[in-house]
Assembly symmetry: C2
Homo-oligomer: 422 residues x 2
């Protein structure tokens, strides 16, 4: 790549309007708006359909061509000088958690729109087409698991696999995709199989690091690995009033000891290990009955592949050693290794931030993102901006307008660079 | 009381038929029979109505007079020589847990029937009327809380209070009482307010003590006291992948520390304290979300009033000290002090067991029973028999026929004694 000669002049960045971006963020947040300032705009809902229509209107105003695919990923294209070349993709998602915030996902799509608007204002058409993308169902709150659109786009999952997924009300992805695509008859539908030249995604950090370090952007080094387990502890139901402690096989007492032992085994003075027991179900869960069974989840994440392997591999043994008088079984559900974004992309983004005078630092992503799937098909990078108190998946999620603008200026310059040099 | 002169001759006991009792236990277990040998005969269900009809048929065969009251307590009366005197009541309940056993409750009612049959066979009519009773809804599994019939009978609760209680399907006690009483138009309905001369209840131990000590019967000294609490731990929801440990306010981590601290504070090397966390609910209970809230139950029991007070009073402080970075609130829901059955009744039963050569020991009741409410209105006593491995509230609940017969022989002699001497 020969980015260096082309970047850092700020020609694109100077056309980025923080106010216009902010207004669009607030306007998009009206679709599924909640009383406390958050949004409920779950995948393939009526709220998301309306928000997509709004996006398409904005895109058409500035001359972009909208299209979609059979997984309802939405693309808004700004044609390059050599439209036959694979495009540079930039974007994120606009679906939300049921009580989500205004910025998770939406920032990435609207910053991409703002970037393209700045590129257009610069009046130098890039070599490659630039496409804004809004991936379908990143959150996975309504239809599990998430990142469906990017998974199908990248070939990691088959379209037929996701069609049969149903929400809690029994509605299938297939029927909601049909409803959405029928609601947008004017959109050209394109086939799968296109391999982009590159993908960039800007996102809120969803953690407190950038805020604490007082940096405007984070250049994401990679996405940490994740292993998930389900642990089942089996004891024996007994009468809370009559059964002596010595005779009990109390599944809750054992499960608590097991979680304690796991906390010790996963203890990391550096606080890089992420160890969470988020789900914990007791049977029969009655106040006067000694619990017969506990099923709990383990979510373990780490950016280093060897550490993640070592810690995760230790879990069954730690559980067995701490099970007291109960039986225990440990099942691994998922093992996504850590991934590292290409240094070439990260260095290019760092150079852009440096040149624009935007304070930056390297940062690992704790959360998963659509960029995980794109990473396997094209050079991919991510930019984070701080969010207040690290809070996300919460109506209280908040960002500073200046951080959103700074991040977008970096994204816009980086996009233009990629579209001309990659 | 001048029991001593009248007891221990075995005139009544010799008419007790263990085989007849056992056959009736097996026959009654057909109402609500489950595949693994247990019963589902919850309060006021169709299965219980059918079982009551069976009881009434058996009672009429031996000349007893059935009646009921507005709380659907069922009485089967054997008229004494002085029928104007308050009767001696003996019995228990025939409702069960949803996956209950054949003996919990049913033994007490059928042993009472066998006792009356033995008294009749002795051909000496007692001075007082002897009434077999089956209390309505002892278990409380369908309509909470349990011991409804005995609570209303004894005046501890008002009938109007229980009528509005609904089961999980929304059906009220009132409508089910109406259905039951309509199904039994031949039964005389009697008013509340009668104060019995005494009450005796035989029941399975629901614990392992008698079996371990190889005794046929336990003379119940009293019912241990019970305090129940609800503890709520409030932390903050956070992303399992992005939130560092140091920034978390993990309600599950805190709750586990609190339960551990409580286990230590309630630790009793004598194993007399009964401390149980049976219910434990996590919010939002999602594998990749740091828990924001845990609500758990505490069930604390002890036979000594001072110890129960001291341990229970310490709970809020122990919780506060162990709450880590979360908020905690502790609410006491119930404080039933321990009760001691009158020594006169216990000594009389001991003398009977001694005279009959039935091995016995004193034992405290860990579980609550209808006898708790009767204790407050008349001299009350209880007899336990061993159950296999201490298991109850379980289809696997099991007793030995010889123990059931031995306990019934003691009950029959004791009942006859009371009906003549109290």
């Amino acid at each position: 790549m020969a980015h260096q000669a082309l970047i850092a002049k700020g020609d694109i960045a100077k056309h980025v309007s923080g106010a216009r971006l902010w207004n669009r963020l607030m306007e998009l947040a009206q679709f599924g708006a909640l009383p406390k300032g958050g949004v409920n705009r779950q995948a393939l809902s009526g709220e998301e359909i309306a928000a997509r229509a709004c996006l398409v209107r904005w895109a058409k105003t500035i001359g972009l061509e909208p299209s979609t695919d059979a997984a309802a990923n939405l693309f808004l294209s700004y044609r390059g000088k050599e439209p036959a070349l694979p495009p540079v993709l930039i974007g994120s998602h606009i679906d939300s958690q049921p009580t989500g915030g205004k910025f998770d996902g939406a920032l990435g799509v609207l910053a991409a729109l703002e970037s393209v608007e700045a590129i257009i204002a610069n009046r130098v058409r890039p070599r490659r087409t630039v496409e804004i993308v809004a991936w379908m169902n990143e959150e996975g709150s309504r239809f599990a698991p998430g990142m469906m659109g990017s998974a199908v786009f990248s070939g990691a999952r088959k379209l037929s696999d996701i069609l049969t997924v149903r929400d809690a009300a029994g509605v299938s992805v297939e029927s909601e995709l049909h409803r959405l695509l029928t609601a947008e008859p004017q959109l050209r539908q394109r086939p799968f199989g296109m391999k982009p030249a590159a993908f960039l995604e800007i996102h809120i950090e969803q953690g407190p690091v950038l805020e604490n370090k007082n940096k405007s952007v984070g250049i994401v080094t990679g996405i940490q690995g994740k292993r998930t387990f389900r642990v089942q502890v089996d004891g024996e139901e007994a009468h809370a009033g009559t059964s002596p402690r010595i005779a009990r096989r109390d599944a809750l007492v054992a499960a608590i000891d097991v979680v304690h032992a796991l906390q010790n085994a996963m203890w990391d003075p550096e606080d890089v290990v992420r160890f969470t027991v988020g789900m914990f179900n007791v049977t029969p869960n009655a106040p006067s009955v000694v619990p017969a069974r506990v099923v709990f989840s383990i979510d373990l994440r780490h950016p280093d592949v060897a550490t993640l392997r070592k810690l995760g591999d230790a879990i069954p043994e730690v559980c067995q050693a701490a099970r007291v008088r109960c039986d225990i079984s440990v099942k691994e559900l998922l093992h996504d290794p850590p991934l590292e974004f290409p240094k070439s992309i990260r260095h290019m983004i760092q150079s852009v931030a440096q040149a624009l005078g935007v304070s930056w630092m390297n940062i690992a992503s704790g959360a998963g993102h659509d960029a995980r799937y794109l990473h396997y098909v094209c050079p991919t990078g991510m930019i984070f901006i701080p969010c207040r108190n690290g809070i996300s998946h919460n109506e209280a999620e908040s960002v500073q307008e200046t951080h959103a603008a700074d991040g977008t200026r970096v994204l816009a310059e980086a996009t233009f660079t990629l579209a001309n040099t990659i």
